[in-house]
Symmetry: C2
Subunit: 139 residues, 2 copies
Amino acid sequence: MKYLHTMVRVSDLDESLDFFLDKLGFVLVRRTDYEKGRFTLAFVAPPGDEAYTLELTWNWDPEKLSGGRNFGHVAYGVEDIYAYCQQLMDKGVTINRPPRDGRMAFIKTPDGISIELLQLGDALPVAEPWASMPNIGSW
Amino acid sequence: MKYLHTMVRVSDLDESLDFFLDKLGFVLVRRTDYEKGRFTLAFVAPPGDEAYTLELTWNWDPEKLSGGRNFGHVAYGVEDIYAYCQQLMDKGVTINRPPRDGRMAFIKTPDGISIELLQLGDALPVAEPWASMPNIGSW
């Protein structure tokens, strides 16, 4: 038995592809438009780990996508959590939970799905400006 | 960069461990109880693919865990989708979307998280009783 993927719905595929590809640096592994069913599936993955995709489902008929408490987050490991968060901030992404501990940060997709970022290996040394950075909103 | 895990919250850890370990046949990779924070993290994974865990977060203070539309499902591949679904049914698990096509089924966790089951490799030949089995509820 084998883990395959996690699926989240997106309300605006262009906005979500901008978020995952341009801001997070993910790669688009596959995209299929289903004319008859009026939906598109786009599989995105972190660079270097393309076997484990996040499936983005975009239903063409508009729908408000609210969140629920039974789902938590999807987690990715990064090589340098400070450099990665700085890159996100430079692109206008809010760091809801900054990596004050050199180890863990949280951001949110345009549809409010929480994404956990974890430093691979040992935590980085605690450092400014991260150590003093406040939380923003929820995650 | 690397995919690490998906986290879902559970309202009753014993019920969820029964679901994942006894009914789905997953393995418990790690469990940690956090007395001070009053929560438990349990990482479960499909047998044979223990690197890719599902993190179950159980907050000790009771909370109603409703679902939202922005999250879709977590998907696992199985060797024989008919045998796997039969095993689930024998243990009392509702197959919300039976594998009528020999390829895909959906079930739900006790807290309403959808789980997609996909036949690894080619679809199995369409066969009864699966082909005539109706959907039950949503997924």
